[in-house]
């Protein structure tokens, strides 16, 4: 049985449109034009237990709405969602006890009190006996290094500290499925790296299925074997990051730094016309987007054109691939 099964899932929001200004406000008292917005449109995918899947998309693509439907917060307008064999919108307690949701920009903790008080409530809510509570707590406190923060009111914590406590509260009952919505947003680089390490360890140790949205590609690259790309509510890609790059960008980036003089424009004209030049700040450095099948041949040709100090061959940065996909750019890697 898959951990998560989504079949033809849709979510439509209903709102009303108001004309601007005072007259618009007065008119809206009498008559309102209702509009329907399809946040999620007919998406389907399957996630197996123990997978870590990145859920990517621009703002308003439908990522958070999907996570909210999977965690039982929102009712789907159409379609089917099953997580661990349960229908999330039914909010069966047996289901909610096996999942957790962490939202980077929305706290799930009670702010006025220390996290430890929240944990004591979670102990009862998630039916943890004293032994499991103590064991899980000790383990998480050590992993997250938050011993000193347990008894500090949440509102007095920094953003990074709060995020750790959010994770602590979300993981105390050892959920089988974890939904993370922008968990590293607002964190400094060090905290981001620590959090990634923690999540990797969590997945390795307990086999926790993780579904993660993030705008930081470092999060996705560090954690996710698989990505789902969503745009305008529709699933555009489902596969590994490598597949995404291979499929979306048939180019590799070839960066050559010459020791003294770069090749002349006549020499460069000998290169295959499918190769394009990318901007470079250094006059001695040549940045090229080269079709994958031409990379060896082009490198050899350039090495013969002058004295080469350095050569680098890399894939188009994943941010660029995804950014280009979302902006509808066709030749990813060509224009930087």
């Amino acid at each position: 049985m898959p951990a998560i099964l989504v079949d033809g899932l849709c979510k439509t929001y209903r709102s009303f449109r108001k004309a601007p200004g005072l007259m618009g406000a007065v008119r809206s008292l009498i008559w309102r034009e209702h509009v329907l917005r399809e946040a999620v449109r007919d998406i389907s995918f399957v996630i197996e237990e123990g997978e870590v899947v990145g859920f990517l998309g621009p703002n308003g693509a439908g990522k958070t709405t999907t996570l909210k439907m999977l965690s039982g917060i929102l009712h789907p307008s159409k379609g089917r969602a099953e997580v661990l064999g349960f229908t999330p919108s039914q909010r069966a307690f047996a289901y909610l006890r096996q999942i957790s949701m962490v939202m980077g920009q929305k706290s799930m903790l009670w702010h006025e009190i220390p996290t430890y008080d929240t944990l004591l409530v979670h102990k009862e809510i998630y039916r943890l006996d004293d032994g499991s509570f103590r064991r899980n707590l000790d383990e998480l406190v050590e992993l997250l290094a938050v011993e000193d923060l347990l008894r500090v009111p949440v509102r007095n914590l920094s953003l990074g500290e709060r995020m750790k406590m959010e994770l602590l509260a979300a993981l105390l009952h050892q959920p089988r499925v974890l939904f993370l919505d922008e968990p590293t947003i607002g964190l400094d680089v060090v905290s981001q790296a620590r959090l990634r390490g923690f999540l990797r360890e969590l997945n390795r140790k307990f086999g926790t299925t993780i579904m993660l949205t993030s705008h930081y590609m470092d999060d996705i690259q560090a954690l996710c074997q698989r990505v789902l790309l969503i745009d305008h509510g529709q699933l555009r890609f489902d596969g590994s990051l490598n597949e995404l790059v291979m499929q979306s960008s048939p180019y590799k980036l070839l960066n050559v730094t010459f020791a003294n003089t770069p090749p002349s424009s006549q020499a460069l004209a000998m290169l295959d016309p499918r190769i394009s030049q990318r901007p470079s700040d250094d006059p001695l450095r040549l940045n090229l987007a080269v079709p994958r099948e031409l990379i060896a041949e082009t490198t050899a040709l350039l090495l013969r054109m002058g004295q080469v100090a350095d050569v680098g061959i890399e894939d188009v940065p994943i941010e660029e691939v995804i950014g280009a996909l979302f902006t509808g750019q066709e030749q990813i890697g060509v224009a930087a």
């Binding site: 917060i73 939202m103 920009q105 006025e112 009190i113 004591l120 009862e124 039916r127």
Partner: protein, 267 residues
């Protein structure tokens, strides 16, 4: 069952802690719930001393308003507006992802506040009672006190469910604050908060008997005062329990459909 009791107890404890954390706001609310009945009492005593023909004597007025303060604390409820805000800004999501009946959070919040308030307000009420001790007359019949206790419990349930059901309308109405202002006004007039219901013209009596606000405040005081005969008592308890059940059903129906409309706005 025991798990629910422990969970409920822990949540009440948490809400007690949170109530104490909001010391300033809490103190203001606490004092306001005593000031209004005391001011009403002073106004009524002045009217009475100027020879107005009232169906209450001074002693009954003092007893009514002092006990009114106590019942008002026991039945007071503010969760509806917080609930509406939570539905509007998406904070309700926190409650929805936890394996706990969503109403628990609000019931325990209400009980937690009362646990903190009562021990702090009782001394204030005792001081006021001592000031008016010559005019205060409390019944000695234990049955009346038992009836009063039961009526207070149901009054608290009715007031809570009314507030909760009203706040739940935020699933469809974005701003329910206007409805709460109307409710507060009706509560003040029809629950016996400003003046005892017995002071209304007799023509209003049939309406006053059946409207729900009476059962959130005035009815327990009427039970204790012994102004109701046996049949009126049975009818009163039947109305009170009936309102609790109907409002509970309303809450269930509203949430059944409301959750389908919930948009969990914000991230």
């Amino acid at each position: 069952m025991m798990t629910h009791v422990r969970m409920f107890g822990r949540m009440v404890g948490l809400n007690v802690t949170m109530t104490i954390a909001y010391r300033a706001a809490f103190f203001a609310l606490m004092v306001s719930s005593v000031i209004q009945p005391v001011v009403s009492l002073l106004v009524m005593l002045t009217i009475e001393s100027q020879g107005a023909d009232l169906p209450f004597d001074r002693s009954q007025l003092v007893t009514y308003y002092l006990l009114l303060s106590f019942v008002a604390i026991c039945t007071g409820c503010w969760v509806g507006e917080y609930l509406a805000e939570g539905i509007r800004d998406g904070e309700l999501s926190n409650t929805l992802v936890r394996p706990v009946p969503y109403i628990y959070n609000f019931v325990t919040n209400n009980i937690g506040e009362k646990i903190v308030k009562l021990p702090l307000l009782l001394p204030i009420l005792i001081v006021i009672a001592l000031l008016f001790r010559s005019e205060l007359s409390l019944p000695s019949d234990p049955l009346r006190w038992i009836g009063f206790g039961i009526a207070v419990v149901f009054a608290a349930a009715t007031a809570f469910l009314l507030d909760f059901a009203l706040g739940s309308l935020a699933f469809w109405i974005k701003d329910v604050s206007g409805l709460f202002r109307i409710k507060d006004l009706l509560q003040g007039l029809l629950a016996g908060q400003f003046v005892p219901l017995a002071l209304f013209p007799p023509a209003f009596a049939p309406f006053l008997e059946v409207q729900p606000f009476r059962y959130t405040l005035s009815f327990p005081l009427e039970v204790l005062a012994g102004t109701l005969d046996g049949a009126a008592l049975v009818r009163g308890f039947a109305w009170q329990i009936g309102y609790s059940v109907v409002l509970w059903l309303c809450y269930r129906v509203i949430w059944h459909y409301g959750l389908k409309s919930y948009e969990a706005v914000g991230r």
